[in-house]
């Protein structure tokens, strides 16, 4: 079974970078540009892990996380915060909401993959059959 991963970030650049990093692995990647869309996808797809930004328009990461924790279907989905904001108040808030990890931007590719891999196994895709 391949992992289902949801990336929620208002920056298309960040979502693209995450997509490129996960390309070598057997996983299904979903994307959302704000918390509201992310919450909908989380309820529908029940991902194995969510990579969540904090500062987003429409609905920020903390609000999405709070709403997820209030919902039986999404309350136990592991979340990794990936944000430029290292404000201690935000870190304390998301810690109370049970995030698995907190990565500050700029991030190293290997660090992000390692932290996702701690939550959900990332198996390399088998080589494509020769034509």
């Amino acid at each position: 079974m391949s992992a289902k991963i949801l990336s929620v970030d208002d920056s298309r650049m960040v979502r693209s970078v995450i997509g490129r990093l996960l390309k070598p692995f057997e996983c299904e990647l979903f994307e959302a540009e704000n918390g509201e869309i992310g919450l909908g996808i989380a309820k529908e797809k029940l991902p194995n892990v969510i990579i969540l930004d904090y500062n987003m328009p429409v609905m920020d990461g903390v609000t999405m996380l709070t709403k997820m924790r209030e919902d039986e279907t999404t309350k136990s989905i592991p979340v990794i915060m990936l944000t430029a904001d290292a404000n201690p108040q935000i870190i304390a808030t998301v810690a109370r909401l049970g995030v698995k990890d907190y990565i500050t931007k700029p991030f190293k590719d290997a660090d992000l993959i390692a932290k996702i891999g701690k939550i959900v196994p990332l198996n390399p895709k088998p080589p494509a059959p020769a034509a």
């Binding site: 208002d10 430029a84 404000n87 935000i90 500050t104």
Partner: protein
């Protein structure tokens, strides 16, 4: 009054942030340079501005990157076959996020000095490069220029303590 020591400290923070963002996000080396001339004013740049608001200070990050270079970077990041496929929103997205990351890195350094803040989502514009100047003497101000793949990137960081 801003002190020279404060300016040096801000310069170091800005330099560390810029080098880390270029290295980890674009996988490109950036070298700080003094080679800034008035000719560079005409270069069309994508600019990102991130404001920092804290209980003890306010500040800003301004990042200016030539639009031709951002187009080439965006083409690679988004996997476009041709640079013409890159849209204006893509250019702004890339520079906005890079500014946000520089802001995050500077904010983390300031936090280590006991200055907490929140980052305002980046404002993004496309315009000829211009030189920022400090608004007043009380502002700590750092302006640096970087060469990355032959492209001149300008970074301005400023902060001002709120008088109690």
């Amino acid at each position: 009054m801003s002190t020279n020591q404060e300016r040096v400290k801000l310069n170091k923070m800005a330099a560390a942030a810029m080098a880390e963002v270029l290295d980890t996000q674009l996988h490109l080396p950036g070298v700080e340079t003094e080679k800034y001339t008035t000719d560079d004013h005409d270069t069309l740049c994508v600019q990102g501005h991130v404001a920092m608001h804290g209980p003890k200070f306010t500040g800003d990050i301004f990042l200016q990157i030539p639009s031709t270079f951002v187009r080439s970077v965006a083409q690679q990041i988004f996997g476009f076959a041709d640079p013409s496929e890159v849209q204006e929103n893509d250019l702004k997205d890339v520079v906005g996020e890079l500014s946000n990351m520089v802001g995050g890195r500077v904010a983390a350094e300031l936090l280590a000095e006991g200055l907490t803040c929140t980052l305002v989502p980046p404002e993004k514009t496309i315009a000829p490069r211009f030189k920022h100047v400090p608004k007043d003497d009380a502002m700590d101000f750092s302006q640096s220029h970087w060469l990355c793949e032959g492209n001149l990137i300008s970074l301005t960081v400023q902060k001002k303590l709120i008088s109690s």
